[in-house]
Amino acid sequence: MSLVMPKPDEATLLKSSSIINGLKKISKHVLSEEEERAVYETDGLSIHRQKPIAVVLPETTKEVSLILKYCYDNNVKVVPRGAGTGLSGSALPLEDSVLVVLGKFNKILEIDFENRCVVTQPGVTNLSITGAVQHEGFYYAPDPSSQMACSIGGNISTNAGGVHSLKYGVTTNNVLGVEMVLIDGTIIRLGGKNLDAEGYDLLGVVTGSEGLLGVITEITVKILKKPQSVRAVLIGFDTNDDAGNCVADIISAGIIPAGMEIMDKPLIIATDNFAKAGYPRDVEILLIVELDGTESEVNTLIEKVLEIAKKNKASYNRASESDEERLRFWKGRKAAFTALGAISPDYICMDGSIPRKKLGTVLNEITRLSKKYELAVANCFHAGDGNLHPLIMFDSNNKKELKKAEFFGADILKYCVKVGGVLTGEHGVGIEKRELMCEMFNNDDIQQQLSLKKAFDEKSLLNPGKVFPILHRCAEEGRVHVHKGKTRFPDLPSF
């Protein structure tokens, strides 16, 4: 697949071996052999591949600082990488870049129950944080499905969400502080163990910035006490609209479930085959609603939810009677991507967010597009927060199918924006949705973001070619703000 990336800098490529030598003076772990670099040539968006000049695996913040300073002084591009599970290609190396992998930052530094937080290195997996505190009944709330593999540093950089984000928030709502290295090697600390950081909320912009603003070397996250009681219900429907309305009605009733997920028929079958979750196979759409709180509260809420489901013509329901059963309900949903991998040679996973009450409409549109493009699709949704993951199935051996799948995906995202949603809810823009940014933002919006980027990284050396469009100008004539006959950026280069 052809992908346009910023033109590699010839001078940098020519001095590759001197760069490798320079890095080797700083770090013991510099990988420069072809097959070593090949391990890191792609992330979770594996249709794109590119080897960097070198891969470095630093062990200390000081080392990261020296590496970045070296690259800064020598005008070498840097791409940070955590576990490489990202789905938008934001950790894809550039040909003339150095890939900084945080894999050796794999220690939890401090568990502080008194202040309800954990201080950790960025390479630690999401799930190990919960693992380290669960003996005291605590957990780390954001739970992306990739939590066994993805790094907490990557989570901060993508602002990862999970199935419990509806009630407990996404990463940005659960991180208290970071230590970070700027591209010129400066080490800074944002936030800490206290709740309100001072001044501009730089931590807030760094979260979700896809490695474009700095390399994160230490993280403080909030931990929560597990709820007293948790139960989940499975609810089946015959139509998209009934399921969509049910979700909207639950929220309207003032109920904020801990999680609320939807899967369509192809996924129900695939995940049930894969995980033996015990899903009903004769429903078109399955809703999983999880409720937590005190025992009597949970029981009351379950009754209310079932009543709402009945009003919306639910054809099936089952409430979990034990924790094992509840976890089994989730096992299917959490294995959605893997399960689909078992039935389709390839798929791409989209990630739009939409207003909840448009769920039915959007599902119907996806069905229509699926027929138009003649590609099968399976859908799972974080329905409570309107975040949808249509999985478009194709065969990458068939070049035409890949192209079609990409157009199909773009059409879905454009439709999300059209109904009042956004391009990406949790996977990030990366290279995948870069050119679609103009669907949401005009030139002034994008320029503002680019100026902010410059405040952190004046030379644009950190992870270039990601997030912002390269091919398009977002300024459509009608949207450019014209003052007294002059446009604001007469000599602006196209990007």
């Binding site: 206290n194 309100d196 929220i251 919006d445 902010l452 604001r488």
Partner: protein, 410 residues
């Protein structure tokens, strides 16, 4: 004399800022001039945003409200109340602190200050509830970020940056806020006579349970007279825990508290009406009603709070007796100190303490002398200041929007 300009809409705001940008005129941004917060600044122009007002869109079932930034917060709260909803960050009415009477000000002002009420430690801060905005930057360009949905990682999250930027980055013209259902029921469990240290131990204990406390504060002996509620005895220190949710769940959890603290002899329960009132009074800093002194907000890790109190708030042996109270389950102290010379010294010592303890100070209220020559935030990290300055210039290259309000020279 400064010129006050009152634009009606975003177009006019943009035009005005553009003109000021072209002619290098700094602008002070106000709405109802309700918050003399931040450093005091001198500008030739004043931009009054109160006319850019009104609710644009309220979608109760989508849990958001979109409003023009000049809309009085009180109007928004009324509308939400009619649908049994509220703002989850529990806004703070600073009117009491500044003028001794209620005045929430405009939503734009509230967002710009990013102050959050007692529910902060459970529900996040204001910035966690700002879903998106439109604004005009320092070049007069209309910019936007975010949207109306809760999950959104499309581009940098500029909402976080604008919340709490005190109008120094851009002028907000429209904001979209997340709304949440009002809890069906709530009660407050009060314990009397605890020392600050004991109160902190209580907070630590309850935060290690699943009782989902949504308010936890402590008022010392020198700061309880103003708490006048029928069922509250205000002659001894007060340590309060709020429980919210469905009625049966609230009652069960209050029962659990009774069991956990069965040793504590003197306690009471505030039922819903008085409970709501108590937290409103606390959120709005009514204990510092029209205070003539310096009032500081100190955000710190709960484990440092007892130490901070004994050094700067109350200590019989050292003769320290400043009015204060503890919020956010120990993560926040509001403190009033005199505004003569010795207090400047105390402030310097507090700054040193904070630097060592991952804590920081914000001056909520001070006289003009202090607001001109003193600090607003306790930051001492030069790297952060350099970065903050670059961020400011990336939005406002000529530094014409509220220049110097947060840091001198930025």
């Amino acid at each position: 004399m400064t010129d006050i300009y009152r634009p009606n809409n975003q177009e006019e705001i943009s035009q005005f800022i553009y003109d000021c940008y072209e002619s290098n005129r700094p602008i002070e941004i106000i709405t109802f001039n309700s918050k003399p917060i931040g450093r005091s600044i001198q500008c030739s122009q004043t931009l009054d945003l109160s006319k850019n007002s009104g609710i644009v869109e309220y979608q109760p079932d989508e849990l958001y409200i979109k409003v023009k930034a000049g809309t009085p917060l009180i109007d928004i709260l009324e509308v939400l109340k009619s649908k049994n909803q509220m703002l989850g960050f529990e806004p703070v009415d600073l009117g009491y602190l500044y003028n001794g009477k209620p005045n929430y000000g405009s939503i734009g002002g509230v967002v710009s200050c990013n102050l959050s009420g007692p529910r902060r430690f459970k529900s996040g801060s204001l910035r966690d509830h700002l879903l998106g905005f439109t604004a005009v930057n320092g070049k007069g360009e209309c910019i936007k970020s975010g949207g109306t949905v809760v999950k959104n990682v499309t581009g940098y999250d500029l909402s976080k940056l604008l919340a709490g930027s005190y109008g120094t980055l851009s002028v907000l013209t429209e904001v979209t806020l997340k709304v949440v259902p009002k809890p069906e029921f709530s009660e407050t469990f009060v314990m009397y006579g605890l020392t600050p240290k004991e109160a902190l131990e209580v907070f630590s204990k309850v935060m290690k349970t699943s009782l989902e406390i949504s308010g936890a504060c402590h008022y010392p002996k020198n700061n309880i007279d103003f708490l006048r509620l029928n069922d509250l005895d205000n002659s001894r220190t007060i340590t309060a825990l709020r429980i919210e949710g469905p009625k049966n769940s609230v009652q069960e959890r209050i029962e659990s508290l009774n069991k956990i603290f069965k040793e504590v002899k003197e306690k009471t329960i505030l039922e819903i009406y008085q409970s709501d009132l108590f937290w409103k009074i606390s959120a709005n800093l009514e204990c510092f009603n029209n205070s003539p002194k310096i009032v500081a907000k100190i955000s710190l890790p709960p484990t440092e709070t007892t130490d901070f109190i004994s050094q700067f708030c109350e200590d019989e042996i050292m003769g320290i007796n400043n009015k204060y109270f503890v919020e956010w389950a120990g993560g926040l102290i509001f403190l009033e100190i005199g505004n003569e010379d010795p207090s400047y010294l105390i402030l310097e010592k507090m700054k040193k303490f904070c630097k060592e303890k991952s804590a920081h100070i914000m001056i909520m209220k001070a006289d003009n002398t202090f607001r001109t020559s003193g600090f607003f935030l306790s930051s001492s990290d030069e790297n952060i200041k350099t970065l903050a300055s670059k961020v400011k210039l990336s939005f406002d290259p000529k530094s014409i929007l509220n220049p110097g309000k947060i840091y001198a020279g930025i």
